[in-house]
Amino acid sequence: MLLPVIIAIGIFLFAPVGRTEGLEFSGFARAVAGKIDTEKATYEGYDNSISFSEKSLIALQADYSFSSSFSVSSQLLLHTDDDRESGIEWLYLTYAPSESFQINAGRLRTPFLKYSDVIDVGFAYPWINAPQQLYSSYLFSQYEGANARLRRTFGDVVVDFEAYYGKYEDELESSGINVDIEVNNLFGGVIEVNYGGLQLRTATVNTPKVETTIDEIAPLLQGLKAAGFNSIAENFEINDRAGPFLLGVSYDALNWYVSGEWMKVSSDIDVLANLESFYVSYGYYVDEVLLHLTYASSRQSLDTIENTIPVGVSSALDQLYFAVEQLNSFFPTDDLDTWTLGARWDVKTNIALKAELSILDGKEGKSSFYDIKENNFDRNAALYQVAVEWVF
């Protein structure tokens, strides 16, 4: 936390003085409206009335160059989403001695999926809503630490390498549960191979020990331990390894593209278990309008924790038993298939209008990325969205 503060003070103290020609401002904004066609659940904050506030945001980036190889960048982000905090998203020092090598240190966004580190910059990708099965905020979206980026050219093939190390702390809200997450030794890497319009990507994040605190379940875990059910309590404690792995491929031609990403999250954390998801997308340009179709799918395998508490012995134990049963159903099981049809029209070189329809086909008995309000909800819904994306 200290490093970003020092950098921030540095920027605000020194930037306006003297060489203001080294200071550059840019930014991006998006206004997104959407709704789903059911009242039995919400999806990414959307319910069956039109909402503008789930994804709309504005960000201002300041880049200040001290010299040809040293610069500092900061990105201030303001959201309308209740689940996300507004504030400084990025704040880092860059040392770039050449076009093909750079080191960044500070608060950075974790690179993993193709658009992970620009997920707030809707202008950078075709969808309004990048496939939720991969892009949902489960992963460690930002970290405090450092990265190194190296670019090598082999004939016509350009290869980008990126490695990073840092720590991550965040509060997540998943299916209505607040989770505090802390990862002290987060490290990972990305390799991206580009040959003409063809791109191959692979990435991984390693988190040897994820420490989480879920206030809602702390009293229950204490109760379990006090009653001697340590093994059950331990199963619910999320303090272990999680490691996502990614493969991506895309081909961009002049008037069409195909792209896909496949992700597997394996973890030793009993209640999070394993998640496998992918999407395949095709886009076709008709003049300035892009039409695109995407299929995305996710499967989560959850190890249900064996409830060994005897029933009918005492009312206290019965209560514990039912609490564990409830807890078992508390963790998300995000099995979901979606078809998304969308259009993007670049009205100006820096403004795009988008419209999108997603058919959400969730699975019975699973959470499927919904916040379910009525248990008889069949997990099927349609999501409608329109957006304006702007960069400046």
Partner: protein, 139 residues
């Protein structure tokens, strides 16, 4: 006679049209026979890198310019909107910023002429100063 005149006129028009549909990639380089392949030009303008030289600094025409449209479709092989979203991704992930853009051919040529290692593109057939060489031809 009038028919012949018309024929020559049409021939002239078609020649101009052909000339307008091509772009030359031009650079301020000292090496006499310096040349790039199409893939090298693409990598240089999209990723600031080539296998032959790291010292070249690309400059571009502004969006809406005809040479830029031809360059985009023939060499980069992407639409203007795809290129714009690519640069938004590069800029806001702190990776790279797009080449400097010029509003007019004269301004771009002046920059290339006065900057060693600068590389840009111009309509095929453009008269070039002595120190600016054609390094790739696209027709």
């Amino acid at each position: 006679m009038r028919k012949q005149m018309l024929f020559f006129f049409l021939l002239l028009c078609s020649r101009i049209a052909v000339a307008q549909d091509g772009v030359w990639v031009v650079a301020n380089v000292s090496e006499q026979n310096f040349a790039l392949t199409k893939a090298e030009v693409r990598n240089l303008f999209m990723r600031s890198t080539t296998s032959s030289s790291d010292a070249l600094i690309p400059v571009a025409m502004s969006p809406g310019n005809r040479s830029r449209a031809i360059f985009n479709s023939k060499i980069i092989a992407l639409t203007e909107s795809r290129i714009q979203s690519y640069w938004a991704q590069m800029r806001f992930s702190g990776r790279q910023i797009p080449p400097i853009e010029f509003n007019s051919l004269d301004a771009l040529l002046e920059h290339v002429t006065n900057t060693e290692g600068a590389i840009g593109y111009v309509p095929a057939g453009t008269a070039l100063p002595e120190n600016v060489k054609v390094v790739y031809r696209s027709f």
